[in-house]
């Protein structure tokens, strides 16, 4: 149970900067997701914390120890890999005992620890089987048991659930969260699945082009994105651009949009992000912001209806509505949509 810090960490491959000047902290016992597209540097950051990659500059500390120059095998980390990475020539018990053995724990003491770890991942009595006899989900549980049995300072997860099918993934998410809470391990989780990041984490860090764009609680990052990229990558978003005029934003077609967010000075250009589910279709005039648009497509998705809209300026918009009355509007209909100034978030481009 330790906090992990990275301080001005940078890494360049050849002439391509993969990470530039990352400084962040993973507090003790927290679950942080590193979320970003491939090439954003999230895996590189995880591997730098693990010790597989040495940063060109910067410092990594685990607890109070500067581990920057300590290789992975001296760091006492627990790691889960996308491919499970169980040793195929060993039994489940031998796999789980591997790290204990490296720490000089053998015989009855090791057996006890192994049994306890297998119980924790709900695979008691599986010790004598081989990895091949287990399903993907079971193998991933063993990988988790192997990673936590050594009582690591930090648990690092490299997209461990992405090889599982949807149902199993959700089951494993619950399991992972339960074990993380029980063990109180500081956990860093790399994923490209935004839903997974939102459900599991105490904190979400969004990475883009080697930088952390935004880090915070899932709700904050989702409700108040700082940049267009963050708004777009985590969930869906509509973007409206306009010029600031007297504390509000005048769109190109003259519509005035209000926001509770902080705006820069008059006359400057600004981009506003509005989540599609925050907009609603109204029949009369409203207090909030409103726009008129034509429906181009209605997508029926069961509990939710997605409307693809277009304003008369040709600006595409998206609107998600609860499916209360079924599909009553159809393509080509013109509607008025409304949303609150609170849900209008100024974002950096």
């Amino acid at each position: 149970m330790t906090n992990v810090k990275v301080n001005s960490v940078a890494k360049t491959y050849g002439t391509t900067p993969v990470l530039s000047d990352i400084t962040t902290e993973f507090p003790e016992g927290s679950f942080t997701s590193l979320l970003g597209p491939s090439g954003s540097g999230k895996t590189t950051l995880l591997r730098i914390v693990a010790g597989f990659i040495k940063p060109d500059q910067g410092v990594v500390t685990i607890g109070n120890n500067d581990v920057t120059d300590i290789p992975v095998w001296g760091r006492n980390i627990g790691m889960m890999f996308q491919s499970y990475a169980l040793f195929p020539h060993m039994t489940i018990a031998q796999n789980v005992a591997f790290g204990l053995e490296r720490r000089g724990i053998k015989g009855a003491a090791a057996r006890k620890e192994v049994d306890r770890a297998l119980e924790m991942v709900r695979l008691p009595g599986f010790g004598d089987r081989t990895p091949k006899q287990l399903s993907g989900g079971q193998q991933q549980r063993v990988a988790l048991a192997r990673a936590i049995v050594i009582k690591p300072s930090v648990l690092l997860l490299d997209e461990p659930l992405s090889a599982l099918d949807r149902r199993l993934r959700q089951e494993m998410q619950v399991e992972l969260l339960r074990i993380q809470r029980e063990s109180g391990l500081t956990t860093i989780f790399v994923t490209h699945d935004q839903e997974e990041a939102l459900t599991l984490s105490d904190k979400v860090a969004i990475l883009d082009k080697g930088r952390i764009v935004q880090i915070g609680e899932p709700e904050t990052v989702y409700e108040r994105p700082l940049t267009r990229f963050a708004a777009e990558f985590l969930g869906d978003s509509n973007f409206l651009t306009g010029t600031i005029d007297n504390g509000a934003v005048r769109l190109n077609d003259g519509t005035v949009v209000k926001t509770t967010g902080t705006l820069p000075g008059d006359r400057s250009k600004v981009t506003l992000a509005v989540r599609p589910e925050k907009m609603s279709i109204v029949s009369g005039p409203t207090d909030g912001n409103s726009l008129t648009a034509r429906i181009t497509t209605v997508i029926y998705a069961g509990p939710v209806l997605s409307y693809l809209l277009e304003t008369k300026d040709g600006l595409p918009l998206k609107l998600f509505a609860q499916n209360r009355d079924g599909k009553v509007l159809s393509d080509g209909d013109t509607i008025t949509l409304s949303w609150s100034p609170e849900h209008t978030v100024p974002v950096a481009e």
Partner: protein, 259 residues
Amino acid sequence: MKPLGRIYLIVILIFLYTPILVMMAMGFNASPLYELPFSFSLQWYQALWNNTVLLTAGLNSIIIATITALLSTALGTMASVALSRRTFRGKSLLQLMLLPPIAIPWLITGTAMLIFFYWSGIGRGMHALLIGHVALAIPYVVLVVGTGFRTIRADLEEAAMSLGSTPVHAFFSITLPLLYPSILGAALFAFAVSLDQFVISYFLATPGYTTLPVQIYSSIRKGFTPEINAISTVLLLGSMTIILIFARFAKPGDTRDKR
């Protein structure tokens, strides 16, 4: 189609094994001129027992093949580790350069070796044969072990390291055991390449030190007796036993990661 396939398989097996079986049978035939009718006799095995020239050559062959297998497997496996797990300059060129020796006719390789060994003072004899055979077997070993490497995921070693293994410990506790069937297969391959080798051996052997294929060849030129069949049978049964033991215990491909 199924019975047709079976017939096809049987025909192939007949083509493969009939000459060998005839050869083996004739070793037990009394006639020195391979005449029929067949009359069972062990006289050629008795003659072989006293034919020190042929027996010595046979022993030489086995010794050379064993040393070749050990040396080329060790060297080739190390090369394979470097080619599979490390990045360094000239790696792809090196990898490419390993393949042509397999395709170059042995006659050309043998001539080249003879000229080079003569010019450099290495000369001929057992040491020259060993150098030649090891050089010849290494590309096969690298190829076989390299294929084995491709079935082992690199993140297995990473997992071991995350649990506290040094890279050396990770290699010996994870990679090597998984590579074991490939290494054994490569060793057998090297053994067979050396045991089979005629052309290069012919160039590099001296009158005092020959291998079995070279000795058989010179015996045939002098007019041969079924003693040749006898020693061939012994050799054949020996190598087949080794291969069957390998197939039984190593279960090639069994330990690989299926995903």
